[in-house]
């Protein structure tokens, strides 16, 4: 114990003396290593952030991992069974998607088929009927916009994390108030773009509705969908659209129920719908699992590149280390002459480079933390997922590991060399 502490203290004193005497060299080692460690940290951080961003996008369209999606075939009677079952339940939300046209009556919408506004989905100019026959649409194209009207029985955000896009654009649907006569609509980004581009009257037509509806717009959200969408409370919609027509094949609605993983609703609904003679399908969202392999590969490729940069850094630290040992040959021979064990000398050289590696890692992590802060400050408005970004701890860990490995790789050969210096030939006059 005493011997060990004597060795350790001696090593500490000698090592610090060595670093202090060669500040510039230590700095040069750090510079050569810095880019490599920084590359590893940035790749690791970038991969983690990209993974989060990708997942966030997928969650917008598919739902949070673990969510169950139950798809209900559009048959008469299905809608009322579903709405009955999920009513008042926080662990399940029914969602129906219908085509709706907002704007001048008697004209074809500018984006027929709810196409994105910058894309032409090649409107056929035909109207097709449930019996399969089609005929030319006599209506001219006019000031109207088609959206996918999405009616919800409850706050779908438990399953799909919509973020209010720029808070000044109103609010999300409020499911706690009394239903209003004029349905309140929340638009997605694409729909908001359409309404900004085309001035259209606020009149909404939905097939099967008992009258034209006058909606009120209350907010805009980013749902990751490239098609224009409008979200509406189910109870406000059914004032105008009888429940039994919701899943009428003529209405063209798609009905699905979003549920938490372990809700009894699944069982109840399945048996009720099966009782009606309907086939239901249930899907569980597992985006992370499915993406992980792909992401891991991308991360590996980038890490390999970063490793290459790191290797160049190691070559730099090795070069400086060897030059330093060459310069210190007399010092090491002398230290051996006065009784310093060679293992201690090797340890000191290794410890000096390890310390350099760790210092470099700390610097690289500091720079990447600062960089991330800067990026999230500057781009946070445009890319919401960059707001309040947490620093990925695995990137910090990767940086430290990279620094240590570089220190070991770059210090090992110089350490061996330091241990092998013969005393006799150096001290011979």
């Amino acid at each position: 114990m005493r011997r060990l502490s004597g060795r350790f203290r001696s090593a500490l004193v000698i090592g610090l003396q060595g670093i202090r005497a060669r500040k510039l060299r230590t700095l040069l080692s750090m510079v050569s290593l810095f880019l490599g460690v920084l590359a590893v940290v940035v790749v690791q951080a970038g991969a983690s952030i990209a993974e989060r961003a990708l997942l966030a996008n997928v969650e917008l369209t598919n739902g949070i991992d673990g969510t169950k999606n139950l798809y209900v075939p559009p048959e008469p009677g299905a809608a009322s069974a579903v709405l009955d079952t999920v009513e008042g339940r926080p662990d399940a939300t029914a969602m129906i998607v219908l085509p709706a046209i907002i704007g001048e009556p008697g004209v074809r919408p500018v984006n027929e088929g709810a196409a994105p506004f910058d894309e032409n989905w090649g409107s056929s100019g035909e109207i097709c009927f449930p019996d399969g026959t089609c005929q030319p649409n006599p209506e001219p194209t006019g000031q109207a916009v088609e959206v996918r009207l999405t009616a919800l029985t409850g706050d779908v955000r438990a399953f799909r994390p919509y973020r209010p896009y720029r808070p000044r654009h109103g609010q999300w649907l409020d499911f706690t108030t009394m239903p209003a006569m004029a349905p309140r609509l929340v638009l997605n980004l694409e729909a908001a773009k359409g309404f900004e581009r085309y001035r259209v009257p606020a009149e909404m037509r939905v097939r099967g509705a008992i009258a034209h509806i006058t909606p009120q717009f209350v907010g805009v959200i980013d749902d990751g969908d490239i098609q224009p969408r409008a979200y509406v409370r189910m109870d406000e919609l059914v004032t105008w659209l009888p429940v039994n027509t919701l899943t009428d094949p003529g209405t063209g609605g798609e009905l699905q129920v979003l549920m938490t993983g372990s809700t009894p609703v699944e069982q109840v609904l399945t048996s009720r719908l099966t009782g009606l003679g309907l086939q239901v399908g249930v899907q569980t969202v597992d985006s992370l699992e499915r993406q992980e392999d792909e992401l891991a590969l991308i991360r590996l490729v980038f890490l390999a590149m970063a490793g290459l940069v790191l290797l160049i850094g190691v070559a730099g630290i090795l070069n400086v280390g060897l030059a330093t040992v060459g310069e210190r040959i007399e010092e090491f021979a002398l230290r051996r002459a006065v009784g310093t064990p060679r293992s201690l000398l090797a340890g000191i050289v290794l410890a000096e480079t390890l310390l350099t590696g760790l210092l470099t890692a700390a610097a690289a992590i500091g720079v990447s933390v600062g960089g991330l802060k800067l990026v999230s400050m500057m781009l946070g408005d445009a890319e919401p997922f960059l707001q309040n970004m947490q620093y990925p701890w695995d990137a910090g860990l990767a940086g430290i590991v990279a620094g240590l490995i570089a220190g070991i790789l770059g210090g090992f050969v110089p350490a061996l060399r330091a241990a092998r210096i013969p005393i006799a030939s150096v001290m011979r006059a």
Binding site: R2, R3, S5, G6, R7, R9, S10, A11, V13, I14, Q17, R20, A21, E330, E331, L334, R335, R336, A337, V338, G339, T340, P341, R342, S343, L344, P422, I423, A424, M427, R428, A429
Partner: protein, 229 residues
Amino acid sequence: MTVLIDLTGITKVLKGQEQDRTILSGVDLTVRAGESVAIVGRSGSGKSTLLSILGLFDRPDEGSYLLAGQDISRLPERRAAKLRSSHFGFVFQRFFLLKHLTAAQNVAMALVNGQGWLPRRERRARVLEALDQVGIAHLAKNRPARMSGGEQQRVAIARALVRRPVVLLADEPTGALDTETGTAVIEALLAATTRGCGLVLVTHDRDHAARMDRTLDLVDGVLTERVRA
């Protein structure tokens, strides 16, 4: 007086590319406590080689080496390092001071060698004592660049003395100094023998050799006692 060093039949062969060269061939040498021994000989006769065997930098190919009665002819490096620290002090022709350290730190270097640990206060006392023994305690805080050759060599002697060695080994310590400073260095080395330390001095200087208790000639790899007039 107690025998510190007892060499018998020490042989050292240099492995050459074409043929081996015998540098030492059967060296016998005894050094007692407080005794000073001068070794003289032509350049290249093997004096430094002999010192490096004495100081455990190198091992002999044949012969026996007893240090205070213990056979250390075939010592593993770890124990050799320990003995170098505890039993020997070295002085070379070049001073081998570390230029980024002060005189005191250069002397303390022999104490900070991983062989035991002295508290800072005790270390400082030992260092000052050693510097005082060679008469340059007042230069403790100076760096080598600001000292004369004689002063630097005395720092090196203090470094050799600070562990209170049993034997001092000096390889032409005055070779790089003028006569006057050289004499002062020899005085400092001889002073150590009055405290019971053995001294082996390799020198080309007749006067310095004459001040030792004995003078040995290294000729053709063998030591012979020079009979004094």
